[in-house]
Symmetry: none
Subunit: 223 residues, 2 copies
DNA sequence: TATCCCGTAATACTGCTGCAACCTTCGCGA
DNA sequence: TCGCGAAGGTTGCAGCAGTATTACGGGATA
């Protein structure tokens, strides 16, 4: 899962990013609305976390702008402005949820799950492929009901591929699922992860194969 | 076990929270229905304790609201309004139990166990792993039919892992099971508990091992 | 008072992860 | 069919983030 966090306090943003990463969530960060808008055009975020008081304007104005651009990415407003009328204002303008600061990271992740559950269960509870059964919310993978342990980055690759099994996943999508844009990759780190993941899947007899589509990306198929 | 207590008398709430913690129950506290509703959306409570007379309304109105939101968490009403007709009212509206104030904490925990045993609740009555037999409702652990005593926090870690034995438990899930949102952890307290728990399990010949999945979490396996 | 729990912090350790070097495969054009 | 360049695959290695262990002391409990 990949989020865009629009928040001008860098320390808070950094801390939140670290906390969310422990839930397997990759976070991009923007401090200004203008930057944020650019990022939404370039990336496909699962959700957006939006502060209200920002250096270049009231955060809420971002919502209609984004909606007019045809984006229906869920937006959660995170703000100290948490009076009931302010919440109404935020929700009425099109936010999917509204969370007052300070808040628990647990609460935020749960709200994220709730928000992502809404449209016809965008978040599947269980994905099976070959002999793998994957729980993408718990980041849990089993083979024949026994746990299949993976390092974090390989796990994220596998879950991302599994969510779109039998469909190609762009290389850039994979990179986005595993790294945020502060973690730059100057080498073939992703290829290395896929290589190691393939070996593990083979050794474990997972019954799935990762195929490459040259110049495009990868896809996960049952054998 | 983690509960939500909805109660406007802070002293009573604090006292109850302490009392319950001695039974290994982690309690979050809300004084208003609105706050409580937010919390239920975000956390997965095992049960909810609900007062009737609250600053922002009659507690019972909370029940249909919660049910409509698709939550079937058991609800126990705790109130001074304990006339028979009032009890009927509470149960008819969907409460799972109704307990008049004042009450003994023992009775409350017993009723909690009863509620959690019911079909809807997926609470297992007994978990066995290695030579351990765990009763997650009584927080009771035995090895070869003899009692295996553990400090409270280690016990909570063990039970949480046991409930998902052979599956990974995210580090953040463990933290939520052991600490409520007022108890912040600034160090590696959880790691320390796990380390001490491991040693105890080894010394006792429990026949189970706690494995770490780097960057993800932990899991309990039989040897 | 003695005991035990528990958070903190210092230290040691482990293995994931990015990198880079090198090898293989693919697709295209001659 | 062959050659060539680019994309992808594989693997050793060093660095370091995450984890393990343990001692210490405050605080609760009896």
């Amino acid at each position: 899962m990949r989020l865009l966090l629009i928040e001008d306090e860098r320390e808070l943003a950094a801390a939140l990013s670290v906390a969310l990463s422990k839930h397997g969530i990759v976070t991009d960060h923007a401090t200004h609305l203008a930057d944020a808008f650019e990022l939404t055009l370039q990336n496909n975020y699962d959700a957006i976390l939006l502060d209200r008081r920002l250096p270049d304007g009231e955060g809420l104005t971002f919502i209609p702008k984004l909606r007019q651009a045809g984006t229906d990415t869920p937006i959660i407003v995170l703000t100290a402005r948490n009076e009931p009328l302010e919440r109404v204002e935020g929700l009425d303008i099109g936010a999917d949820d509204y969370l007052g600061k300070p808040f628990l990271v647990e609460e935020l992740t749960a709200r994220l799950r709730a928000v992502l559950r809404r449209p016809a269960g965008l978040a599947e509870l269980q994905i099976s492929a070959g002999r793998l059964v994957i729980d993408p919310l718990h980041l849990n993978v089993t083979i024949n009901a026994t746990q299949f342990d993976l390092p974090r980055r390989e796990l994220l690759v596998l879950v991302t591929l599994a969510k779109r099994r039998d469909k190609t996943v762009l290389r850039s999508t994979l990179e986005a699922a595993v790294y945020n844009y502060e973690e730059e990759i100057q080498s073939n780190a992703l290829d290395a992860h896929i290589s190691r993941l393939r070996k593990r899947l083979l050794d474990a007899g997972a019954g799935v194969t990762i195929h490459n589509i040259r110049g495009v990306g990868y896809l996960l198929k049952e054998d």
